[in-house]
Symmetry: C2
Subunit: 389 residues, 2 copies
């Protein structure tokens, strides 16, 4: 087991009607004036907006609204939000939504306390030294941003998507009511499921000494997500299945599934290049295409690991490690297909000629390699993108 | 899944040599004067005391020492420590040791900020509203106190042992170096393993709607602990096995293994009566006797649960739920025997006539029942103690 620091200070308030407590929760922290970030109106249509506002009002919380966070949240929006947060002197940011609203809020929170441009953080020019507190009401199980230290943003000028990790990115509280995800579409539910599985699998497939306990937690989480996903395909309002996916979302990305392991998420690097270039591709859908391609390219470099994954997660019975590995990858693909995820990039009508550009984006113009089992250089990265066709 | 709040703000610094960072860590928090609580000299013999003091000195931390914490920490010691903490105006308490040093520190920390007597907390007369921060350097994997909200203490005047839960009982940081547990005796290592398993199993066996994810985490943790325990019997200096047990200790009792489940620890109630009366019985050894006895008494009221436990944790192949349940309990007993734990109370030379007194203590003089599957009344509790013979 590698040395690690585990720090998950987010208070998770999980369960039915939990969002109705938001005003009281914020009041108990002592905040009186907040910024609320949310998306494009789905929370208004569902009635969540009214319930949240009522709770905030009842607890005398003054609210500065910043609606309009887009999927793959945009730098220009964050810059605007930072200006407003400073001008209005808000004491905290409340995100109501999924990973986009939360990540946008995280950037706003650290940007508001930084003299330079917030793009400096994902560009590794600066690291945050202070931030406003962020809390969230989660409405989509996917990104795990509610408990994670990471935040991803898209720079429209440069057409790239980048993230960074910081302890200042940890939410102070996360209100998680699985019922709020009943209205998430089947497609977006599946995208979220792939994202959760990917956060878990990419850590699971990192290189390190034995971490049997973390392995078992990852495998158990994956089995449980797969089981719940199958339930949700037929019954999207199954509370326990929605609750399992929501809690798995938080646990998959709060560092538990990586404790004692190397922290690298190789497939996410591929996907950020992909959906950074093609905004119409949902993050989870991109991962569903990339995970099997990546796995097929690297599994022979560590069949012990891939066969353990196959046997324990997918119940593959095959004593040959290479054979079992391949069957595990096939089982993963079949599952993605079962939950209606794309398996190939051609399903998005993206011509294969784009793989050069994608490989270039992913390697920052051949300036970096992508790790795990073998260092993937530009040509490998392009080969993996080619396998997506 | 039941509603729950998950809040584990303890920063865990896990790995080799991590204890040498203690001075820097405390300095970074801004504390200049601390109380250090530890046991009876084993940390001096091992050299840990010197290494800790060196790190504290190098970082200009002033230390008020309170050595002499006993196993099953005593109320009288805590009262003395509270007086010293107030008189010396210490800013935090550092526990160097296992559950005893940490629990003693937790009581000192909340007692120092309370006008009444600290026994009011476990007596349910008062709840803490403030506390000094507590940090720890863990030297034994067992109680899980390094991340838990609970603290147990023995009142020598009344000859009883009680605990209580509070968010003020969460350590601010926990320094976990598995190498520090190399010198823990085989017997104490086994006691710790049973305690960790019991924290997990008692939550696992609570009553609630489906919690597949939490089930899988519990089962994975147990499988991993069992595997590592077997390694340690032959090779007590196996780093990965020691690390697994140490990390499992924290995870078993930080609420992860109970998320979405009812929070009751029935067997711990029995054991507190037992080792509260017979101080020579180590907590884990008492649990090793009580867990199978409790399980045999209640399993027929929920064979679905016990057979799941048997099949997933102990790999029992038996399609009959009752039959599988019993085989699972037998496998657990065989494992406890394998790690040299006692299986019967007669091994402690305690006469069976004591079971009336123990049942009386456990039920607070027939004033309470013990839950899970059936409400265990005085007669049931006595029957279970009788099964321990």
């Amino acid at each position: 087991m590698l040395d690690f620091t585990y720090y998950t200070p987010t208070k998770v308030i999980f369960g039915k009607d939990s969002h109705k407590k938001v005003g009281k929760i914020i009041k108990d922290y002592g905040y009186k004036k907040i910024m609320m970030q949310y998306g494009k109106g789905s929370i208004i249509k569902s009635g969540l907006y009214d319930e949240v506002m009522r709770s905030l009002k009842e607890n005398d919380i003054e609210v500065v609204e910043m609606g309009g966070v887009e999927p793959n949240p945009k730098l220009s929006f964050v810059r605007k939000a930072i200006d407003v947060a400073r001008k209005e002197n808000v004491e905290m940011i409340l995100a109501v939504g999924g990973g986009s609203a939360i990540d946008s809020s995280k950037y706003t929170a650290s940007g508001a306390k930084y003299d330079g441009d917030v793009w400096d953080f994902p560009s590794r020019i600066a690291t945050p030294e202070d931030a406003l507190p962020v809390g969230c009401i989660l409405t989509n199980s996917a990104a795990g941003s509610e408990m994670s230290s990471s935040a991803v943003i898209s720079n429209e000028e440069l057409n790239i998507k980048r993230g960074y990790n910081s302890e200042f990115n940890r939410c102070k509280f996360a209100i998680c009511n699985p019922e709020l995800t009943y209205t998430v579409s089947k497609y977006q539910t599946s995208c979220g499921i792939v994202d959760i599985m990917s956060h878990t699998m990419e850590r699971y497939f990192s290189v390190c000494p034995p971490t049997d306990l973390t392995d078992r937690i990852c495998e158990g989480l994956l089995k449980s997500v797969i089981k719940s996903a199958k339930v949700l395909m037929d019954n999207p309002n199954d509370y326990d299945a929605r609750a399992t996916i929501m809690w798995a979302s938080s646990l998959s990305h709060n560092d538990l599934t990586g404790s004692g392991r190397q922290h690298v998420l190789p497939v996410h690097q591929f996907e950020h290049a992909l959906s950074g270039e093609y905004h119409e591709i949902a993050h989870g859908a991109g991962l569903a295409v990339l995970l099997p391609a990546w796995a097929r390219y690297v599994y022979k470099h560590n069949p012990e690991r891939f066969s353990q994954f196959a046997r324990r997660v997918w119940d593959i019975e095959d004593n040959d490690d290479l054979g079992a590995s391949l069957k595990g990858i096939e089982a993963m693909e079949a599952f993605f297909k079962f939950i209606d995820m794309p398996l190939k990039l051609r399903e998005f009508n993206i011509p294969q000629s784009c793989t050069e550009r994608l490989a270039d984006l992913c390697t920052y113009g051949k300036q970096r390699t992508i790790p795990t089992y073998i260092e993937l250089e530009y040509d490998d990265v392009k080969n993996i993108f080619d396998l997506c066709y």
